[in-house]
């Protein structure tokens, strides 16, 4: 199937949005993990 320029543009937009959201999700999980880990390290008995 040959895509029209408009179909190509929308497909590309959707792909980049999904990629961006997945990247943001990975970053969120990483940062929250560090934050929670940091708190636990600080709270451990010396």
């Amino acid at each position: 199937m040959n895509l029209t320029p408009e179909e190509k543009r929308k497909l590309s937009q959707r792909n980049w949005t999904v990629a961006g959201l997945l990247l943001a999700f990975v970053a969120l999980v990483f940062i929250v993990t560090i934050v929670k880990l940091g708190g636990n390290i600080a709270a451990r008995p010396l």
Partner: protein, 304 residues
């Protein structure tokens, strides 16, 4: 002879169309009530975790909205107010909306569970499930009490927000906030339904104005407005909020009843305008009451 299925053309939907599928205006009210409840909750939460909890609530609410549009695509295509939504407009397929909504629902609940806590995650899952299975699939097309009972889904976010901070879902104040939104919902939706009752009648949705008529709807709106003022003031009368919340909520509740009275007395020619004014005020009312709750806590006026 063999037949080959012609593949359908790729969708022309852009990110903005998928965002529209999440009902962002409804989402904003949900997120705001959850935020105010988080601020009012005792204890502290790391700002990043608070933001994560709000994001999960927003995405979960959006997912519920997308799944609602998947199931109600036939109704949305008939009603003037909803026929430009992405599915009836032909931009997103029903299957696409189902997959999108299910994915987001799963992401929001699991992210809430792993990053914030199990109690808010269970509440979020219950909210999405109630909105989809109880309201959308069961009550909406069945009974005139659809939005009364279904309103429980929209009322849960303050409890989720509270649970995200405290880890506890059994305190009194968040459930009073739940009751506030639960009692607020019928007058809010019936005002909108009065203004667009032909739309609901055409789509065969048994909204109160369609089934019981305009006068009964206006009676019920007035009754719920009075009940709302009692429920909204309960947190203050029980000593759980301070004078700022009490005074503002009392003033706004009197205005709310005033708008409901104007609608109750409106002639048929003025009914639509009066209904739309009450609808607009009801949104302002909810924002203002929850703002008072949050501001009172932030400024130290709330009872400790």
């Amino acid at each position: 002879m063999t037949t080959i299925d012609t593949p359908s053309r790729p969708s022309l939907a852009g990110p903005a169309d998928y965002l529209a599928l999440l009902k962002p205006r409804v989402m904003s009210l949900v997120v705001f009530t959850a935020l105010a409840s988080m601020i009012a909750a005792p204890g502290a939460i790391h700002p990043l975790l608070a933001a994560t909890a709000l994001l999960c609530i927003a995405v979960g609410a959006g997912a519920a909205g997308a799944l609602n549009q998947w199931f109600d695509a036939d109704i949305d295509a008939i009603m003037t107010r909803t026929r430009t939504r992405p599915i009836p407009a032909g931009l997103i397929s029903r299957q696409g909306a189902l997959e999108f909504g299910t994915t987001l629902a799963a992401f929001s609940v699991f992210t809430m569970a792993f990053l914030v806590g199990y109690v808010p995650a269970i509440l979020l899952a219950a909210t999405i499930a109630f909105y989809l299975f109880v309201y959308t699939m069961w009550l909406k097309r069945l009974t005139v009490q659809n939005i009364v009972i279904g309103g429980a889904a929209g009322a849960l976010p303050p409890v989720i927000g509270w649970a995200a901070v405290t880890g506890n879902a059994f305190d009194t104040l968040p459930w009073l906030l739940f009751a506030l939104i639960f009692i607020w919902t019928p007058s809010h939706f019936w005002a909108l339904a009065l203004a667009g009752s032909e739309d609901y009648a055409r789509a065969k949705v048994p909204m109160l104005p369609v089934v019981k008529g305009s006068q009964e709807t206006r009676n019920q709106i007035l009754m719920y407005s009075v009940l709302l003022s009692v429920v909204a003031l309960a947190p203050w009368s029980m000593g759980l909020t301070g004078i700022v919340y009490g005074a503002l909520t009392a003033t706004l509740s009197v205005a709310y009843i005033g708008f409901a009275l104007i609608l109750w007395r409106a002639s048929p020619a003025h009914e639509r305008n009066a209904a739309l004014r009450l609808f607009a005020f009801s949104i302002f009312y909810l924002f203002a009451v929850f703002t008072a709750l949050a501001v009172e806590r932030l400024t130290g006026f709330a009872p400790q």
